[in-house]
């Protein structure tokens, strides 16, 4: 026993010291990290609903909105109610996080009009698609296509859309385009159902 202790005392001591150090780091950064996450979502939500985001000289976003997380029965769905800053005034809209798989995990944030009838914006939260191909889903032109009525599920086509609910796929990036479209359709469908059932309750 003594022999063993002789050998491992250093490991034990180091573990204790480092454990404490890590605990301290975690404590001191935890809040900031959470804020960072929230801030990112808030920025994107403003982009998706209001459509613009002004930054000051330091790069700090000037927010016009606040987010209120919706308590939904569907626990897999993360959605926010978008309210004007300070909570005063009518609801700006909704922000929903859509999740799916393109070539890798994809997270998007979809902005919806207050009556859930229109998609007001689409932002990419997390993507690791192929640069130059799939990553072009981040492009403004592609995302702008999604700003349309949410009444009918969107359809992806490969040539110039002829109908309103059609979205044109990116050349050479069909899978990523498909994934985004599918995520939008699912998320919008789910959130509508969830909010309506919430309202009923």
């Amino acid at each position: 026993m003594l022999n063993m202790l002789k050998q491992i005392w250093l490991v034990l001591v180091l573990s204790l010291i480092f454990g404490a150090a890590l605990a301290y780091t975690d404590q001191s950064t935890k809040q900031r990290i959470a804020e960072n996450r929230q801030q990112q979502i808030r920025e994107l939500a403003q982009m998706a609903t209001v459509g613009e985001l002004v930054r000051d000289e330091k790069g700090q976003a000037q927010f016009k909105i606040e987010l209120k997380k919706l308590e939904l029965s569907d626990k897999t769905l993360v959605a926010y109610e978008v309210l004007p800053i300070g909570g005063k005034g009518p609801r700006v809209g909704y922000a929903v996080i859509g999740e799916g798989i393109g070539w890798d995990r994809l997270l998007v944030l979809i902005g919806l009009s207050p009556d859930l009838s229109k998609i007001t914006g689409l932002e990419i939260l997390e993507s690791r698609e192929t640069p130059g191909l799939g990553e072009r889903i981040k492009g403004d032109e592609f995302r702008a296509q999604y700003r349309k009525s949410a009444q009918k599920p969107l359809e992806l086509v490969k040539s110039t859309p002829t109908e309103d609910h059609q979205v044109m796929a990116l050349t050479g990036a069909t899978i990523s385009s498909e994934a985004v479209t599918a995520m939008v359709n699912t998320a919008v469908g789910k959130v509508r159902k969830a909010i309506q059932s919430n309202n009923k309750n």
Binding site: T25, T29, Q39, P131
Partner: protein, 203 residues
């Protein structure tokens, strides 16, 4: 430890034993996150921070190291500093930490750090080890940034997101892809070898 020795210990890591261009270790971050200068710089700095800290700590406790437990102790130390670095990045450079993805935690298994711990820190005093960590870390940052500059310039027309090449220049997507990383690394290593061989001939 004399001053000139310290200087040579420092420059050694910068050039003669540059981890990614000469020793060819730490290839994972070298290839994966050098698609932009900002990424490369951050990664290099994070690695340097971990390297310097772990070198210092290992050097301080080197007399107490049990030979068969040393790797365990190294990992313990390295993992701690990597976690600290990761948290710091997430807290203060959030977007950067997002674009680096899992590569910051992966510094733990970067052989550069383990190699320096084994080669230098476990044998030499804290001052030397500190300087060594600084030199190797800077060398690593340098080579990563070099690759980042080339790849970002041709792959996205810009350096540090500041557009350099005109719009008429069609970006070479291949440069920001992993295949572009291999190509660039290969060419840079070729160039380095050519320079080294010329130096040797002259000497």
């Amino acid at each position: 430890m004399s001053k000139s020795n310290l200087v040579s210990q420092f420059t050694n890591g910068l050039w003669a034993e540059n981890p990614s261009l000469v020793m060819l270790i730490g290839m994972c971050p070298t290839l994966a996150i050098t698609n932009s200068v900002a990424n490369a710089l951050t990664m290099g700095m994070a690695t340097m921070f971990v390297l310097v800290c772990s070198n210092l700590v290992i050097s301080l406790i080197r007399s107490q190291l049990q030979a068969h437990l040393r790797i365990l102790v190294y990992m313990l130390i390295v993992a701690t500093f990597v976690t600290v670095a990761d948290y710091m990045l997430q807290a203060y450079l959030f977007t950067m930490s997002q674009s680096l993805g899992p590569y910051v935690p992966l510094i733990i298994v970067n052989c550069v750090i383990l190699a320096r711990a084994e080669i230098c820190a476990a044998k030499k005093g804290p001052v030397t080890s500190f300087v060594d960590g600084l030199g190797v870390g800077l060398g690593f940052t340098f080579s990563l940034t070099l690759l980042g500059v080339i790849r970002e310039l041709f792959g996205s027309r810009s350096i540090l997101n500041y557009q350099i090449l005109p719009d008429s220049f069609e970006p070479w997507v291949v440069m920001v892809l992993p295949s572009g990383a291999f190509l660039t690394l290969g060419l840079v290593i070729g160039l380095v070898n050519y320079l080294r061989s010329r130096k040797r001939v002259e000497a």
